[in-house]
Symmetry: C2
Subunit: 408 residues, 2 copies
């Protein structure tokens, strides 16, 4: 079964917004066996939307339109779909009531514009949006399942999960099983070389590598109609991957590196803290982002200036004077200070030159020292990362987690 | 002049890779007056690529295809374009030489596959790729300028700057001038209501609102052939927007809120520090992300546990016992502690319940207190944010910056 995505919005066409919705929708549809063959983006124009719909409903069984359901006059997706289907837009009293409720609840008065969101395409079913004022629409036309969803990802994503997938899933006969292995400490070409034979002989499964920031993901996909058979195929590839690359695999169930680290620390009843200079809260945030992180992560320090390294982490001022803030000695002292001051089991410290300024011949932009304090020892790692400020910081934060994972 | 982008690649269709190239290309083209009306993504299939090309060359003067120029058998963009144009792929001796040089330089031997990248479409001009092995292609057909670029952004971006833009720029007669106003403390529909008249009467300019996280952006675009006239149009809209909405505008030159805050603090020779609980480093990171932040931001604390609030920020234990960690009193004490301990001029504190667990009837998920310490006073703000953990944290971090901006 083929799917297709039409994003509507001048801001996407102008390049002001990256069309991440298409990736989200494709991934969710592919998990239930619907492959997308086309994505497109069109402007807020009835003509462009209807033209795109003409091709879409011919070649695809599921068409998801996203964006253009807002309250303003340039939000035209509903108008365009109604026109394409030769249907009217009619006032939906239940939706109008919802709008009144939403605004009353917030002590606000709806503007006439807001009531545009209470109009429904004749014969359409409205889809609940718990995170915004634009309801979605589901309508079947010429055997094609059309979905209209709002553009903001925090509204669209739950509506995909709660409405689109439950409606489409029962209609799909072929099944897709996939598993993604996430690896660190190995490059894409090395991983690919080792798996060359199974990547070639891919009659009933696909093995595809993707290079990510300091990681390689290997996605194995099997497509067919017999769930048991598919599971067997995956299991076979699974044993090959673990046999050849097992030492690099940190997860095969969707977990990110930070999830694996939190689980491992929690299982061992261990805690960790952070002391960050150039990463400035990136590592802390990757912990706190996870609900339940508080069992392993309770505090951290951002010590960007020398003064704060001395005051908050008790780094010896002589070390800063003799070796400079970006040095193995200071990284170690930061990790040690954090460990001792907080009483945790593990500490992570980062000090480096993220650029674009601040580099020298001896200490170039990209030079980063990562310290890891453990119950038994202090470790320091030197890195020379390439790329701009963001890239250096992201790589430093990721590598700090990789070092911690290696030691756990 | 209209442009169009066709991305080629199964990994994009499957949702494993987000199509950020389309945004990059659109933005660069729009800066020189080429508006994109369509983006599409198709798979590695000659039929799908040629079908898309058929519509594209009819409606667009510039078509950029990206992806599918790699060395493997499923890289088919060049083959598809050749077929579409009824041309042959011919060996290009200069490209073959480059390939040999590239591999020899690295002590490697090219595989037969690698030589696929030495094939050129008859009549095409090869475009230099300094960051990879796939050269680009430029070819004019039926009055349409076709560009084939490799998919990896670090290869594509410089080729847009060095090849595509210099070729297209001289052909463009119309000019686009645009300006984006960034507003806080006002919702999209209220802003739109105030600007209704100029959004209607848009013969020679377009006023388009975009809702962002706790912000509204209003983009004004004027298109024409006379630069002076366009500047006048923009200036006229500019005065209207400032007259009606000026108090909400924090930037009109592309700066983000954090940039404006850093500039303002730097101009006043003031410094700021952060004390974060549920945002856990998000605010710190938004400062440190900016090169040159060190003149205003030097340190921060992540105090997720009560214990660390007491130890690192000297929050009175009685306050925690009497009011709970998520309370106006504790937010104030955190801001005060941070201010006094570090000696900065401003401090930001956040304590809240990001969820999904930890909420109660009295203190639901989404309840967040933000404290701002200033040279003369302590301020506390209570918020009840909606959404999941990420959304609550993002809104809290953004609102903390908004409060600081309000006070500066």
């Amino acid at each position: 079964m083929y799917g297709e995505i039409i994003a509507v919005g001048e801001e996407v066409l102008a390049g002001d917004v990256i069309n991440s919705n298409a990736a989200t929708i494709s991934r969710m549809l592919s998990e239930i066996g619907v492959s997308c063959r086309f994505h497109s983006v069109v402007g807020d124009s009835i003509e462009d939307i209807t033209n795109q719909l003409k091709s879409a409903v011919k070649r695809s069984k599921v068409v998801v339109l996203c964006g253009g359901l807002g309250p303003t006059k340039d939000d035209l997706t509903k108008d365009a779909v109604a026109k394409f289907l030769n249907k009217e837009l009619v006032e939906d009293s239940k939706l109008i009531e919802e709008i009144n409720k939403w605004y009353n609840h917030r002590g606000l008065t709806p503007t006439p514009n807001n009531y545009r969101q209470g109009m429904m395409i004749e014969g359409g079913i409205s889809l609940v949006n718990d995170n915004g004022t634009a309801p979605g629409v589901y309508i079947v036309a010429e055997g094609c399942h059309l979905f209209l969803l709002p553009g903001p990802p925090n509204e669209l994503n739950p509506m995909m999960v709660d409405s689109v997938i439950p409606i489409i899933k029962p209609l799909v006969s072929s099944i897709i099983r996939s598993k993604t292995y996430k690896l660190v400490n190995i490059g894409e070409s090395s991983a690919v070389t080792v798996l060359d034979d199974i990547m070639e002989a891919c009659e009933d499964f696909i093995v595809a590598p993707y290079a990510k920031l300091r990681e390689v993901h290997i996605k194995v996909t099997a497509i067919g109609e017999d769930a048991n058979f598919l599971s067997q195929r995956i299991a076979k590839v699974d044993s090959i991957i673990y046999e050849r690359l097992g030492e690099y695999v940190y997860s095969d169930n969707g977990d990110e590196l930070i999830d694996v680290i939190i689980s491992k620390l929690a299982a061992d009843k261990m805690t960790v803290c952070t002391a960050e200079s150039c990463t400035g809260g990136l590592i802390a945030s990757s912990f706190v982002e996870k609900s339940g992180a508080s069992s392993v992560y309770n505090e951290g320090f951002i010590t960007y200036s020398n003064e704060s390294k001395v005051r908050n982490l008790h780094v010896d001022k002589d070390l800063l004077d003799n070796y400079g803030a970006v040095s193995a000695e200071v990284a170690k002292a930061m990790a040690k200070g954090a460990l001792e001051l907080t009483g945790v089991d593990y500490s992570i410290s980062v000090t480096g030159i993220a650029g674009p300024t601040g580099g020298s011949d001896e200490k170039p932009v990209g030079l980063v020292y990562i310290g890891i304090g453990t119950p038994s020892n202090m470790y320091v790692y030197e890195h020379r990362f390439l790329g701009n400020r963001d890239k250096v910081r992201d790589q430093a934060a990721k590598h700090a987690l990789i070092h911690l994972w290696d030691l756990l």
